[in-house]
């Protein structure tokens, strides 16, 4: 089976869908790999290196497209800017294509591909589940985009990121606002923190708060409570009230910060407009906005996709090729994602388009010319925030489950039942005893009733004590058990010199030490507990 790697034709696209390392692995598995000449040049992979890895080099695009069973690409197929010939026309009938497709935006492309009876797997449609994480190109590209956004911002910004006090004066640190804490946003936080900036981040999904703070940024919040978790690690569109509060927050932030990096995307919809013209105008001249959503229309009203635009001294970077600007690593990671995806599909030995496989089915947009997109909805497998997991800056995704109620609930229920039963038995015994038994026995039963009841209350109350407070609990109950002092006091009558009174007084002395010591030490301990 032959894998073909054509050269990308999109203007200024420097990435390529395979690297020497990955090609070596394909060849090991038994694939034949054909690479178009110069395909890896912009990513610093020479034809020589690719050949050494085991690929053969074809002279032109047609030589790759027409002979390969599986085409691996970065960008969706398009008309060649020079020749005008559409890449799909080069494809062999019934071939397979794996690349970014964006089927929602590219209906025409799907039709063209369908006409070639192609099987197409869209990298951007791979479900973001745990199993598919290794194939998640959106994450690896997002990670790179976030990093590069900070580097571009630092380049365009007229000052340091880190604060410095020098002999020539003090330079305050740059204040960076990052909107959207997905993979790209988190990578941007990490990079900006690494450069020494003060970073704050906003996201509609409260679940990412820990990830944001774990990277050392402040998490901004609006006063309205609404979760923006749209499943699958994506955000959903928010209510008008929420958006209003959010916009007020951004407006306030815009006046303060030096750099804004926006990464807000809602799948299948144009990017939400979050930074208005007024906000831009309220920013200090020299400030920088990097709009990572520029390809989907941009989060800033003034973004011009693909360009640097200056408005009132504020630089707005709308570059849509940030991953491509880190072409070597972007290609290496993307190629590995594709390798992992092919392995999920069975690798060379068992390559098959398995419709039962959730990952494959999700990515499959065309099957032998039949449109299979969008895939049937599946029970959302736990909205693993597998998505926001940038490689080097892994922010642990914490699934906060309600902490289990203390004390074994079921068991205590049984005990309750037993306690109730024995109480009933007690009462019955008391009733039937009345009049027949001696006063002493009656008294005893009465006391026993109180005793059992008190045990029950104690049992109920103590299970709720948090383990952290076990020592204070013990010292407070210890102090309370000093109640034995009453026993001593009841003997403190008659002659002072009588043995009973002396023993009683001694008991009081010991019990008082216990009471004073117990309560005081508990107070000392509890004073230390702070949030």
């Amino acid at each position: 089976m032959q894998i073909g790697i054509p050269k990308e034709v999109y203007p200024d696209e420097r990435r390529v869908a395979a690297s020497p390392d990955v090609i070596r692995k394909y060849v090991e598995q038994g694939f034949t790999v054909v690479v178009e000449t110069g395909a890896g040049a912009a990513a610093s992979f020479t034809d020589e290196a690719l050949k050494t890895a085991g690929a053969s080099v074809a002279e032109d695009a047609a030589g790759v497209w027409s002979t390969s069973d599986i085409i691996l690409k970065v960008r969706a197929p398009m008309a060649h800017p020079q020749t005008g010939k559409h890449e799909v026309e080069l494809m062999r009938t019934g071939g397979t294509l794996i690349s970014f497709i964006y089927p929602a935006q590219n209906k025409d492309l799907l039709e063209k591909l369908a006409a070639r009876s192609a099987t197409v797997l869209a990298v951007d449609c791979i479900p973001r589940t745990t199993r598919a994480q290794a194939a998640d190109a959106l994450s690896s590209m997002g990670n790179i985009a976030g990093y590069k956004a900070v580097v571009e911002a630092a380049n365009a910004y007229g000052s340091f990121f880190t604060g410095q006090i020098t002999a020539a004066g003090k330079v305050p640190p740059a204040r960076v606002l990052i909107i959207g804490a997905g993979v790209a946003g988190l990578a941007a936080i990490g990079a900006a923190r690494g450069l020494g900036a003060h970073v704050r981040a906003f996201d509609t999904r409260p679940a990412v708060r820990d990830q944001v703070t774990s990277l050392g940024a402040d998490f901004l919040e609006v006063t309205i409570q609404e979760s923006g978790d749209g499943g699958g690690g994506y955000a959903k569109e928010m209510s008008p009230e929420f958006i209003k509060a959010e916009m007020a927050l951004f407006a306030a932030q815009a006046r303060e910060v030096d750099i804004i990096i926006t990464t807000a995307l809602i799948p299948g919809k144009p990017a939400p407009k979050l930074i208005t013209t007024e906000m831009v105008e309220s920013m200090k001249p020299g400030s920088v906005i990097v709009d990572l959503a520029s390809e989907q229309g941009g989060n800033c009203e003034l973004t011009q996709p693909g360009k640097l635009h200056v408005h009132n001294g504020v630089k707005i970077l709308g570059y849509s090729d940030l991953p491509s600007r880190l072409s070597t690593t972007a290609s290496q990671l993307y190629a590995t994602n594709l390798l992992n995806f092919l392995n999920i599909m069975g690798g060379h030995k068992a390559y098959t388009v398995n419709l039962e496989d959730e990952v494959v089915r999700g990515a499959l947009v065309l099957h032998n010319g039949v449109v299979t997109w969008p895939p049937p909805p599946r029970a959302p497998a736990a909205p693993v925030a597998a998505a926001p997991k940038p490689a080097p800056v892994v922010a642990p995704v914490e699934v906060h489950t309600a902490s289990p109620t203390r004390g074994p609930a079921r068991r205590s229920f049984i005990y309750e039942a037993v306690a109730l039963l024995s109480l009933t038995a007690w009462t019955y015994a008391m009733m039937s005893m009345k009049g027949t038994a001696s006063v002493e026995a009656q008294n005893f039963v009465q006391h026993a009733t109180v005793f059992v009841l008190a045990c029950f209350v104690g049992w109920q109350v103590v299970w709720n004590v948090t383990p952290a407070l076990h020592t204070p609990l013990m010292s407070v109950t210890n102090a309370i058990s000093g109640i034995i002092i009453l026993g001593g006091m009841l003997q403190a009558h008659g002659e002072v010199t009588s043995s009973a009174a002396i023993l009683g007084l001694a008991a009081i002395l010991l019990a008082t030490v216990n009471i004073a010591g117990g309560f005081l030490v508990t107070e000392r301990m509890l004073r230390m507990f702070r949030k």
Partner: protein, 469 residues
């Protein structure tokens, strides 16, 4: 009329005690809880004083002031690391006090008219439990203090000795019941001595690592003894309060035992470590060697880690290193490192001992996590720092069916990316079990006194490099 007033104040006091226990259920309300307890006690004491039974006001006030002064001095001087000892010592006072009350009451029974069998039984039980609590607590105090060796004292045929002592107590009890007037005093005193021996012997046979269970068990006893006194004196407040304390201590003991995966009988009669693994002693000889790490390397690892979990153990308490741990935590947190604490339920020598120490060092309690909450997060943790803990991080508890601690839930430190174990020496923990964690490929030993070593680490960390820098 007076009787009604007394009942009302007793009910109020009981309610305040219940509220006190409930207040302790969370950090926010804990101090209120303590205040409720104190108010309940004040009401109980004052109303009893005014009930008319008490006539010796002068000596009474004198002993109250004296006792309060002694107690307050002890409480304000004690170091948090010595908390277990103090609690054990205070328990012994309750026990002793109960014995004295019992003896005193017996002298008072002379004037008692009518049948008094039940009364005498109650009295007998009060003195019995009181004496056990007294000597047991004194021994526990000595063990915690280090004055008595922490190794379990296992006399040959000790179960027989215990049974013999219980038997003679019962026999003395029979004689005591039959004695007219106050002539049973001698039996009562002999019984108190035997019960005292029994208490001492029981606690002597328990190893240092099981002290959390023992202390909470004695806590429970001190409650039961107060309840027994309540029966004896027909005083409901004593019964209620004693029962509250007794059940609280019983629950704590249960929780502690569960945390060690052992039954209460096993703790009390087991003589842990001696009757070690039965039959299937498959304890593998651990291959390989431990690797040591220097202070410099430790500092570098701490600086490189994004998430750090600190597991404190008794070693931290012994070295009084909690303040140094706090400095380390602050510096790391200022760097943006996620620092958390993992507390094993039986870490230290008292339930919740570690929490108290960390709180003393001003470590915010919301970064202090319990075992079940933190274990799932350990695999994604960059660095686990074990400060003076051993058995609670021992993988044998999960892997080695022959290990004496097999089945005990432990903190899975070995699952993290890297573990640094701070220890005084390479010796085994209290349980006397070798710890394969030290031989794990991701584990490094940082040997030395916890406090000194940590101070060296803290000194090497960049100081005050907060976010503002």
């Amino acid at each position: 009329m007076e009787q009604i007033l007394l009942s009302v104040s007793y009910i109020t006091a009981s309610i305040l005690f219940v509220l006190s226990l409930r207040g302790l259920s969370s950090q926010e309300t804990a101090r209120e809880g303590n205040f409720y307890g104190l108010s309940g006690m004040a009401i109980a004491v004052l109303s009893t004083m005014m009930s008319g039974t008490v006539t010796l006001y002068g000596p009474l006030v004198l002993v109250l002031v004296l006792g309060a002064a002694v107690g307050a001095t002890m409480a304000s001087r004690v170091e948090m690391t010595a908390m277990p000892e103090l609690v054990a010592l205070l328990h012994s006072f309750v026990g002793a006090s109960a014995v004295l009350v019992g003896l005193s009451s017996y002298l008072g029974t002379d004037s008692h008219h009518g049948p008094r069998t039940i009364l005498l039984i109650e009295l007998f039980v009060d003195v019995l439990i009181g004496a056990i609590t007294f000597t047991g607590s004194v021994i526990a105090f000595g063990k915690l203090r280090g004055a008595i060796g922490s190794k379990p004292l296992l006399l040959p045929g000790r179960h027989v000795i215990n049974l013999g002592m219980v038997g003679s107590c019962v026999a003395l009890g029979a004689l005591f019941l039959m004695a007219p007037g106050v002539e049973g005093m001698q039996y009562l005193l002999i019984m108190a001595c035997i019960a005292g021996l029994l208490g001492a012997h029981l606690v002597m046979a328990i190893g240092g690592a099981d002290m959390p269970v023992v202390v909470s068990l004695l806590n429970s006893y001190s409650g039961w003894t107060a309840a027994a006194a309540g029966f004896m004196l027909s005083n409901d407040l004593l019964i209620i309060t004693g029962a509250l304390v007794g059940s609280s201590g019983a629950i704590l003991s249960y929780i502690m035992c569960k945390a060690m995966n052992r039954s209460i009988w096993n703790v009390i009669f087991g003589g842990f470590g001696a009757e070690a693994p039965s039959g299937k002693s498959v304890t593998p000889v651990i291959a390989g060697d431990t690797r040591e790490i220097s202070v410099e390397q430790t500092t570098a690892q701490l600086m490189a880690a994004r998430s750090v979990v600190i597991i404190p153990g008794y070693g931290m308490a012994v070295a009084r290193a909690q303040h140094t741990v706090q400095q380390l935590t602050t510096l790391l947190r200022e760097r943006g490192t996620k620092v958390r604490f993992a507390i094993h339920p039986v870490a230290g020598r008292l339930p919740g001992h570690m929490n108290v120490l960390l709180a003393e060092a001003n470590i915010p309690y919301d970064i202090v996590e319990e075992m079940e909450d933190i274990n799932p997060h350990l695999p994604e943790t960059d660095l686990v720092l074990v400060v003076g803990a051993n058995d609670i991080v021992n993988p044998s508890a999960e892997r080695d069916t022959g290990s004496p601690i097999y089945g005990m839930p432990v903190l899975q430190a070995w699952k993290s990316k890297q573990v640094i174990i701070m220890k005084r020496s390479k010796g085994a923990g209290y349980a006397g079990v070798d710890n394969p964690l030290f031989y794990e490929p991701n584990a490094f030993m940082l040997l030395g006194d916890a406090k000194k070593t940590l101070e060296a680490v803290v000194a090497r960390l960049p100081q005050g490099q907060s976010k503002a820098a």
